[in-house]
Symmetry: C2
Subunit: 227 residues, 2 copies
């Protein structure tokens, strides 16, 4: 399944022109590791990718997740090495793209150039919002905000089924996204469940009361810059 249909015609043309091959990666395998050079640009065709950092003490922080249509390693045009791990959380298929450097990219493949710029700007905005969540929201607000964001990003690529989110994240993944402990993720989901606001199941979350979630976390989707 792909959402390339929802992208602009120019981008599709450029991606087709530059696509070299398709890369299939099985679940829980690294795509790029910290301090490794990421030689190519990719576009996610299907699957979930984590950008994360592991700390010495065993702690892990997931910085962001990439979904179908997102571009990976955009900064490989700029930097020698990645500062983070890229990991396939599910089976992932990537389109490898041979991007020329500098102005040639903008002249001959304006759609791709725009997509890269857009990705970097959107990523920046998402990370800034994540800084706010991690720094100044309590665990209930963090979780509610993350659920709102998931719903917004997934429905933008047509992957929401009514009010249930289908996702490959377990509670440990949520812990490493929200910066809290696994056990506290569990307790926080229970609070949402007791209030009939959201319900965690394996592989899916039912959003019973989306207005409540947005209210709890003061969610404003503007930072996602969708459509």
């Amino acid at each position: 399944m792909t959402n390339l249909g929802s992208l602009s015609d120019v981008l599709v043309r450029d991606v087709k022109a530059l696509a070299r091959d398709r890369v299939e990666i099985s679940a829980n395998r690294a795509i790029v590791k910290e301090n490794e050079r990421c030689p190519q640009i990719y576009m996610v065709e299907s699957g979930w990718v984590f950008r994360s950092r592991g700390l010495a003490s065993g702690r892990r922080q997931i910085v962001n997740y990439a979904l179908p249509g997102d571009i990976l390693c955009a900064d490989s045009l700029l930097f020698k090495a990645s500062s983070f791990d890229l990991t396939a959380r599910t089976p992932v298929s990537l389109i490898r793209i041979e991007a020329p450097l500098g102005s040639e990219l903008f002249d001959r493949h304006p759609g791709l150039a725009a997509a890269i710029a857009w990705t970097m700007g959107q990523e920046d905005s998402i990370l800034a919002e994540r800084v706010v969540s991690l720094g100044r929201r309590d665990s209930l607000e963090k979780l509610a905000h993350a659920l709102c964001e998931l719903e917004a990003r997934l429905s933008a690529i047509g992957q929401m089924r009514g009010r249930t989110i289908e996702l490959p994240l377990n509670q440990e993944d949520f812990a490493d996204i929200l910066g809290i402990s696994v056990i506290h993720v569990n307790r926080t989901f229970r609070r949402l469940s007791e209030d009939k606001t959201a319900e965690y199941r394996k592989g899916a979350i039912d959003l019973l009361d989306r207005d409540r979630l947005a209210e709890i976390s003061a969610f404003d989707p503007a930072y996602l810059h969708l459509e």
Copy 2:
């Protein structure tokens, strides 16, 4: 004082060609507010700028700070409105730049285009590192990491005097950068001071033992992508 001398010749040429005028902003004044359109690109010539978000409950989170040489509002080329406040923490002087859109920017002003791309990539990398700090480091590690980052960024623009950092940040600013309370910032500085690792004074911080700071926070400057 300016560090334009340290920038590449091409960038200097492009900035000169596109510079419209200089904007002076007095301390603690907003440059751009949340949801406001930032119509122009700026380069910081002198002073400190905060990118922050205020929450309803009075909480505030500082997402990043911009120093001389940094570019502001790079994403105004992409998005209609900013999701964050930009505030002058000190008297700030900005160079306003009239940036053309799209490929013309890359053709005729490659230095500026490169600087913008570089800024966005560096900012992205810094924010990702901040997510790790806020999510998975305790207050001592957070503070030590922030001090290492400050030293690295300031010495890259020639603003370190030996081992003392001169900065306009009070303990409340540190609280809003680190995502902890003012009082805990104070306690944490005291711990560093008791260990003779760093010493807070008004307007300056003495780094007594930089190796220790780096060790506490497992600091690796790679993410700053400085030269």
